[in-house]
């Protein structure tokens, strides 16, 4: 039997789960705003949201390290408020992953909201539904495919992050040592069997999740048109 530490796996799942929840909470209003605003800031925000797709993770990680550090833009005030540092902590990792995976959640939602358009929303308002009511009873059920895609992409993309985690989180077992880093560690010390098991596990898991989502997407009755 291979001596396999499953800690990194649980940590990774926790990180991805927490990141997706945070992303849905902040990604939804961003995507909504991008869809329905007529502000000139729209294109700028769109470009900023897309940045993590094109930036090398190490670049993103480098700036995050500075921002989240004890004297950084975010880390400084955080340190004063909570007395703990953000860099090399799980919370810091969630923040970093949120930024790193932001486009993978915002873009599917943006696409879904755009496909819905203003028409059904106006119809709901005319039927007496408030804007919030309309969002929950018309827009979000109609955007269900977009949400499914956003959740899966956000989750799996966070599972696979490496560069950002290494820069911001380091390699602290139980705190910031996630799956991809564990695999790297195993390879570095030539523990190929362990690296194989973890890699294959991640590969199969990702494939199964994507397969399930695409199947579900096909069967979902909602066509946002």
């Amino acid at each position: 039997m291979i001596d396999l530490d499953l800690g990194p796996l649980w940590l990774t799942l926790q990180l991805a789960g927490a990141t997706v929840i945070v992303l849905l909470l902040i990604g939804t209003p961003i995507a909504w705003w991008l869809t329905f605003t007529s502000s000139r800031l729209r294109t700028i925000v769109e470009a900023i949201v897309a940045l993590p797709i094109v930036l090398p993770p190490t670049v993103l990680g480098f700036y995050l390290l500075i921002a989240l550090g004890p004297h950084g833009l975010v880390g400084g005030p955080w340190n004063e408020l909570t007395g703990s540092t953000l860099s090399f902590s799980f919370t810091g990792l969630v923040m970093a992953s949120t930024l790193y995976s932001l486009p993978f959640v915002v873009q599917p939602l943006h696409g879904a909201f755009e496909a819905i358009g203003k028409n059904p929303l106006e119809a709901a308002w005319a039927l007496g539904a408030s804007k919030l009511d309309t969002f929950f009873t018309v827009a979000s059920p109609m955007a269900i495919r977009g949400y499914l895609t956003a959740i899966v992409l956000g989750f799996t993309h966070t599972l696979g992050e490496f560069g950002v985690v290494l820069m911001v989180g380091g390699n602290i077992p139980g705190q910031t040592k996630v799956l991809s880093i564990a695999i790297y560690d195993h390879v570095e010390v030539l523990e190929y069997a362990q690296a194989h098991t973890l890699s294959a596990g991640l590969l199969i898991f990702s494939f199964v999740v994507l397969l399930a989502v695409y199947t579900a997407n096909r069967r979902l009755p909602i066509h946002a048109a």
Binding site: E122, A123, W125, A126, L127, A129, P221, A225
Partner: protein, 368 residues
């Protein structure tokens, strides 16, 4: 009597809407005009979907907008129903859930219209469990009308609800819209660029041209005016007359219609005796003879008439519109040459020959 008063001044890229109306809030109030004249924008202002910076709207003393005092009731809080050009049903809800969406959001004390009534009037019993995507265009639009009605609105706004439908589907829905007024007593603001729909439905008509009200009032009065030539397409000019079906002539396949000035014979029309029928007599189908023709004429409808008014004579235009009185107003388009030959003048007794009578239903629809 209840009134609908609205005044909007709204400008956006290359378009300026400046509308001021004050009309009785009963029956169908038709907003008529060519594409791009601001009909839909006006309706959206009435709904509160657009907020005119200079604007006021009052229905039966309820103020929904008064920008001078900063009053603007947002759409969800206005007791209106809005039927859009497209049905806009919610695809994730079945027909029944779509119908109940607005009903559930209407205060219990305000609910005057029940699901059973709407389902009955619109004939949608068999559709309730279906998904909107499984319905035809006409069925979807009926459900959309029902959904709006179930909010028990004080005013129903309809934006060309039939425009996306083919001729037969239109024929299927028009009677339902006619019944809304009699069954539920809800005033309807009805936007259309299809004159036949308006002739059939409207009590009041507002003609829009380039964002402004060109003319408004009871439909019979508006269409009896002489100055319409420059507001509506020439082939739509003509007086509107309310008639009742008096007789069915089986032998010759004719229907005899009675109106305040006598009778009109029209090709057989499938209606019961005594039924009311509103017809339009296009001005181009009316000719004037100074005395009854000595010889026989093939024109069935020859009516005594008095010249009321001669329309504007335009040297660049061969035609002139004449307003006649045949017990009710009638418009005739004749050539300037005929006007000179007949020496027409107000008060003159003449005869009007009516070549054809345009009937609301069962005739082909023509559009702008």
């Amino acid at each position: 009597m209840s009134q609908l008063a609205a005044n909007f001044d709204l400008a956006f890229s290359g378009f300026h809407l400046q509308v001021n109306i004050n009309v009785p809030a009963e029956g169908v109030i038709a907003i008529f005009g060519p594409s791009g004249c601001g009909k839909t924008t006006f309706l959206r202002c009435l709904a509160g979907l657009e907020r005119a910076p200079i604007g006021a709207m009052v229905l039966n003393a309820h103020i929904w907008q008064d920008e001078r005092q900063g009053v603007f009731v947002p759409l969800p809080q206005r007791p209106i129903g809005y039927v859009f050009q497209e049905p806009r049903l919610f695809p994730h809800l079945n027909v029944q859930a779509n119908l109940q969406y607005g009903w559930q959001r209407t205060a219990k004390s305000e609910r005057r219209i029940t699901l059973e009534q709407v389902v009955h009037v619109l004939d949608i019993e068999t559709l309730l469990e279906r998904s909107p995507s499984a319905l035809s265009g006409g069925e979807q639009q009926r459900v959309a009308i029902g959904r709006a009605l179930l909010t028990s609105p004080k005013l129903l706004l309809m934006d060309e609800p039939l425009s996306s439908l083919d001729f037969h589907r239109k024929r299927e829905i028009l009677p339902f819209i006619q019944r809304l007024d009699t069954e539920f007593h809800i005033p309807i603001v009805y936007v259309s660029h299809d004159l036949h729909e308006i002739v059939e439905l409207a009590k009041t008509v507002v003609l829009l041209k380039e964002g402004k009200v060109a003319c408004s009032g009871p439909i019979e009065e508006v269409f009896a005016q002489l100055n319409l030539r420059y507001l509506i397409p020439e082939n739509h000019l003509g007086a509107i007359i309310d008639t009742t079906v008096a007789e069915q002539d089986q032998e010759f396949g004719l229907t005899k219609l009675a109106f305040s000035g006598g009778h009109l014979h029209v090709p057989h029309h499938h209606r019961r005796i005594g039924e009311r029928l509103r017809v339009q007599i296009l001005a181009k189908d009316v000719s004037i003879v100074s005395s009854p023709p000595a010889f026989q004429t093939s024109v069935l409808n020859l009516l005594q008439a008095t010249v009321v008014e001669i329309g504007e004579v335009n040297a660049n235009h061969p035609f002139v519109d004449i307003k006649l009185d045949i017990g009710c107003p009638l418009l005739a388009t004749i050539t300037r040459k005929s006007l000179a030959t007949l020496k027409l003048h107000p008060g003159q007794r003449v005869h009007a020959q009516i070549k054809a009578v345009a009937l609301g239903p069962e005739t082909n629809h023509s559009k702008f």
